[in-house]
Symmetry: C2
Subunit: 286 residues, 2 copies
């Protein structure tokens, strides 16, 4: 396994405060200097390649360009999320075929893309009102299109799922899991953190990791217990990423927190065959 | 059949421009003086009662109140829409049982409620920026909650559908129909009218009438042709309502347009048993 820095999804896009130390694109993934988590990179990259290729087939730029160009843009602009990758990995852990989980994983990516775009818009509105005009220029599309597109992506994800041709019963279970993660329950989770929209987006994004793993286990034909355990594993992975991306926290505190969460995460995998968990556990550096 | 004025869903809430001629609540349904469409009121009311009772069971005000109170509010505040009623009526036309369509009809109502709330918010933003502060007081909840709730209602509707326990294959077909109506295709339809968000909401709401009728036909086990015909019938009903609610149009022109649309609508019902279409055709005054 190659030792590489963990690539973190960005929950808090900050397109305006670019200092000289930033790269020209403000949307590159962040890493933290002290905590390096080795991953089985090839495995995760192969998953992302499969999800990407499915999404590219599903979302082609076609007429009317004014609708499908921004949808394509906002689907492929956000950094990769481990939430969708976990979906495929969880499917394989319970003995399912990758193909069975790729559509669900694509739907998870779309939900994440919608949250990401929404946060981008909210950040614009917030910073815009503080700093006056000019902010719009940083965005390829206007805030109106950002809002319409991020809203339009959500039903599109359900359409993709429902039309997959996969097992109907499992697909409906996945619809419920995803709807709960991004809907009312996501709002509940957001409430616990206070109603700030940005935090809400972050919390929903973390929930999406648990949801992703659960959906993969469902599509792979996992038992109820397997689904629940993989869901909790996914939530811990999401929490670890949350800690790592928290720029306000002391590095020592972060190391301690990540160690504790990693232990809890791995406990959830104990009931599975040791060989099968090699791939999925590599995401927390085992 | 009782001759009553057609109740029109409001696509363009206008909470701020209340003149002395307005009732205190700006959200009452509008009627037009010249065009009176007789309806089989008891039939449509019985449908709305069934949908309402299902929604009330599904969306109860529970903890955390800050999430479920606005969701309840924004579900039951919008005027009734014939889009959801058409769903139940179409199911009955193709020989299905009402129970099979009530969940789909509830999901259609929720989508409509989300569009309605979104439009309310956009109108506030638009008028607010023109008229300065004070506008917020007209809303029970802040614009932040309006946005979060209208977004949260969409996945909740899919959750409701997927968990209904109805036929899986038909349910997945309904998920696709609804997702198309409110998602990318809705945006396409909006584009044709220009990108104004308000118009888009209106167009999506009209599409929802076709979608509602199609979903009812699907749940009732209709053939492909029956589904397509009822979908077009629904679109005509939506267009008639659009004409009737257009305050800028001359009454004479309206009468002519409605007559033409009514003829086209009824043509779509010709393939059905004459007795069975009595109820559904009463919505266009036959």
């Amino acid at each position: 396994m190659a030792g590489v820095n963990l690539h973190l999804p960005l929950y808090k896009p900050n397109p305006t405060r670019s200092s000289s130390s930033h790269t020209p694109s403000a949307y590159t993934t962040r890493t933290t200097d002290l905590i390096t988590i080795p991953q089985n990179l090839a495995y995760w990259e192969s998953i992302h390649t499969d999800i990407d290729s499915h999404l590219k087939k599903s979302i082609q730029i076609r007429e009317p360009i004014s609708v499908f160009e921004p949808m394509h843009h906002f689907t492929f602009t956000p950094p990769k999320t481990t939430a969708s990758a976990l979906c495929v990995a969880a499917c394989e852990v319970v003995g399912g075929n990758r193909e069975d989980a790729v559509v669900a994983a694509s739907a998870i990516h779309l939900m994440y893309a919608s949250i990401y775009t929404h946060n981008l818009l909210l950040e614009t509105v917030r910073v815009g009102s503080e700093s006056g005009p000019g902010i719009e220029n940083l965005h390829k599309f206007g805030s109106n299109i950002e809002l319409l597109t991020s809203d339009g992506i959500v039903p599109f994800a359900f359409e993709l799922l429902a039309g997959s041709g996969n097992d109907s019963g499992r697909t409906l279970q996945v619809v419920i899991e995803i709807a709960k993660a991004v809907g009312a329950q996501g709002m509940v989770a957001g409430e616990d953190d206070g109603v700030e929209a940005e935090k809400l987006g972050g919390e929903v994004a973390r929930q999406l990791h648990g949801c992703g793993a659960a959906c993969g286990a469902i599509m792979g034909g996992g038992t109820l217990e397997e689904i629940e355990r993989l869901k909790r594993y996914g939530v811990y992975v999401g929490k670890i990423e949350g800690v790592l991306s928290d720029e306000g926290k002391d590095e020592g505190v972060k190391v301690e927190l990540v160690e504790r969460l990693r232990g809890l995460a791995l406990k959830e995998l104990e009931c599975f065959d040791g060989k099968k968990i090699q791939q999925i556990s590599s995401i927390v550096g085992v």
